[in-house]
Every structure is written in structure tokens, then in C-alpha cells.
């Protein structure tokens, strides 16, 4: 636990009152510093979060996952953290994986470690989702000239020093692609680690709609045009 005190967990959150308390309890058994960016939730998330032992940042309005991540980066950059791990609020990720990511980012030379559902456990991914994710990864790799197997995985470990080189302007889901572009442009060292995603009925209902893929594609084209 002591070793991991300087690895912060960053959770962007929007309307996760059902699962957030349990998730924070699980994470607290391993991580001391949990930063939650409440992105303008309209359910009871705020009341629940205020009772928890966390670093709580409240966006006055809902702006999107990219914006919440960016706010979290800004906050953690000012702390004593050595690294951070981004973690989804819907309970899809495993705390065990986060622990592995934390130890790995502290000892490895990588500036950023991307989580991948395709290195192991890919049999857990529903067929349609797998197809869309593979396509999104191929397009993102094409734009960024990187070789990642899963470009839209919420779990990532990032060294704090690297945050200065990462600038996220996209507020929505496509921030993942923008982050990858930053990593590519700034020549940050990267690697991948397997993650096991648990697709529960709750997380499936909460997760990104496949139609959002079109919005991500639109943002990718804009990013490419901006280059």
C-alpha cells in the first residue's frame, strides 16, 4: 500500500450512483489517493461522493469524459503523485489489473501504459463491440503511426511528468484518440498490458453506444485535418 500511495487513481464519473460507493471501497483497499471528477451528474452521485474519502472535483455542468480526464490530469499534476491510473466508473475494470498497472508504471521505462482487452481475455468482448473496437484501433493507428491493439480502453497508467506533454482539447469520447496523437507526436514511450473487462448488464447499459462510434470517427477526421 505504501508503495502505491503515490499512484493516484483517476475516475471520470457521470451518473454512477448505483456502483460508485462499492467501487471506491474496493479501490481504497489498495490505493490511498482516489481522484473522482464528477462531470455534472444529475443522480445521487454527488451526495454519495461527498461521504467518501476521496479527492472530489465537481464540474458545474456535464462536459464529457475527455474534459473530466483533462481536469483530473491538471489536478494530479499539482500533487505529489508519481503516476496515475485512469479507471472507468462503471465497474468494468478490475482493481487487480489497476494494481498490476501501478507497479508496472513505477518500475518500467514507459511514460504511458495502455490497457488492452485484446492481449488476453478477448473472448469476453461481445462480437459487435469487438468488430467496432478493432476498426477504431486500426484507424487510430493509421493516423498516429502507432501499434496499439486497443485504442479505446479506459484503463491507462501515466507517469506524472508526462502529463506536461499531454494536452487534451476534445471533451467527448474521442479524447482517447487525441491522447494517442499526443503520445505519438511527443515521442512518449509506451507499452501495453492486458486488462480484463467485465461486461455486466449495468455496464453494458451504461457503456458507449455503438452509434457513438460515428462521433468518434468524426472527431478523428477533425484531428487529422488539424495536424
Amino acid at each position: 500500500m505504501e508503495d502505491l500511495a503515490k499512484v493516484y487513481i483517476l475516475i471520470p464519473l457521470y451518473n454512477e450512483a448505483t456502483v460508485i460507493e462499492g467501487l471506491v471501497k474496493q479501490l481504497s483497499s489498495v490505493f490511498k489517493n482516489i481522484v473522482i471528477v464528477n462531470d455534472g451528474s444529475t443522480d445521487d452521485s454527488q451526495e454519495i461522493l461527498e461521504k467518501l474519502d476521496i479527492h472530489l472535483i465537481n464540474h458545474p455542468i456535464n462536459m464529457g469524459q475527455g474534459s473530466a480526464i483533462s481536469t483530473g490530469f491538471n489536478y494530479i499534476y499539482e500533487t505529489d503523485a508519481k503516476a496515475l491510473i485512469t479507471f472507468d466508473a462503471d465497474g468494468q475494470h478490475s482493481v487487480e489489473d489497476a494494481k498490476i498497472f501501478a507497479y508496472e508504471i513505477l518500475k518500467s521505462e514507459s511514460d504511458i501504459i495502455f490497457g488492452s482487452r485484446f492481449l488476453e481475455h478477448s473472448e469476453n468482448i461481445p462480437f459487435l463491440k469487438k468488430t467496432v473496437l478493432t476498426l477504431a484501433s486500426k484507424i487510430t493507428n493509421l493516423f498516429s503511426k502507432m501499434e496499439l491493439t486497443d485504442t479505446h480502453n479506459g484503463m491507462k497508467a501515466i507517469k506524472k511528468d508526462s502529463l506536461a506533454k499531454i494536452n487534451i482539447e476534445i471533451d467527448g469520447y474521442a479524447f482517447e484518440s487525441e491522447l494517442i496523437q499526443c503520445v505519438s507526436k511527443k515521442n512518449l514511450k509506451y507499452s501495453e498490458l492486458p486488462t480484463n473487462i467485465v461486461y455486466t448488464e449495468y455496464s453494458k447499459a451504461k457503456g458507449q453506444s455503438l452509434m457513438n462510434g460515428f462521433i468518434i470517427l468524426e472527431d478523428l477526421i477533425k484531428l487529422w485535418l488539424k495536424r
Partner: protein, 108 residues
């Protein structure tokens, strides 16, 4: 009667293009050319036909339809762009408020 109304409207827009401060020269030109084309469409049907023939479009009315469509698309793309810029400003402001609030709580 309708001709007088339309000419008055386009003339007023033309004058407004002179007096209104614009952040971009394109906006001013857009208003000038739009109002002049408007006046021309009302009083100079023969001239617009000639222009249409010159640019390879059959009738002046068709030329106006094409120009109107082009204007609508330009306006939509300009509005989307403006909307995104505004969204970014709101996002920056909200994030800044969120971070300064947490600092205040810590200082307290």
C-alpha cells in the same frame, strides 16, 4: 409592393454592413454581396439571366437557388464552428471553476 419591401430590406442590410463592426472582413463582404445580389434579383432579372448564362447556368433563378444553397451550407458550417469554439470556452471556464473550488476547499 413586395418589390419595394424587398429592395428596402436589402438596402437596409447593405447599409447595416457598413455601420456594423465585424470581427472578420469576410462577414462584412458576405453581407455586402448578399444584399447586392438580393437587390439585383428584384430589379435586374435580365441582368441576372445574363450573369447566369455567363457562368454556364441556364436561368438567373437557378443561379440564385445554387447561391442560396451554397450560402446555407456555408452558414451551417460557420455556425457549427462557432458553436464548437463557444463550447471549448465554456469547457475551459467550467474546468477552471472546478479546480479553483477544490483549491478553496483545501485552503479552508
Amino acid at each position: 409592393m413586395i418589390k419595394i419591401f424587398l429592395i428596402s430590406l436589402f438596402s437596409a442590410l447593405f447599409i447595416y454592413g457598413f455601420v456594423r463592426p465585424f470581427s472578420s472582413v469576410f462577414s462584412r463582404l458576405f453581407l455586402f454581396s448578399g444584399s447586392l445580389l438580393g437587390i439585383l434579383s428584384v430589379i435586374g432579372i435580365e441582368q441576372t439571366d445574363k450573369i447566369a448564362n455567363f457562368v454556364g447556368v441556364g436561368r438567373g433563378a437557378d443561379l440564385f437557388v445554387y447561391l442560396s444553397l451554397l450560402t446555407i451550407f456555408l452558414f451551417i458550417s460557420y455556425t457549427i464552428n462557432k458553436f464548437e469554439t463557444l463550447n471549448k470556452k465554456i469547457s475551459t471556464l467550467s474546468r477552471s471553476i472546478a479546480l479553483s473550488d477544490i483549491k478553496k476547499i483545501k485552503n479552508d
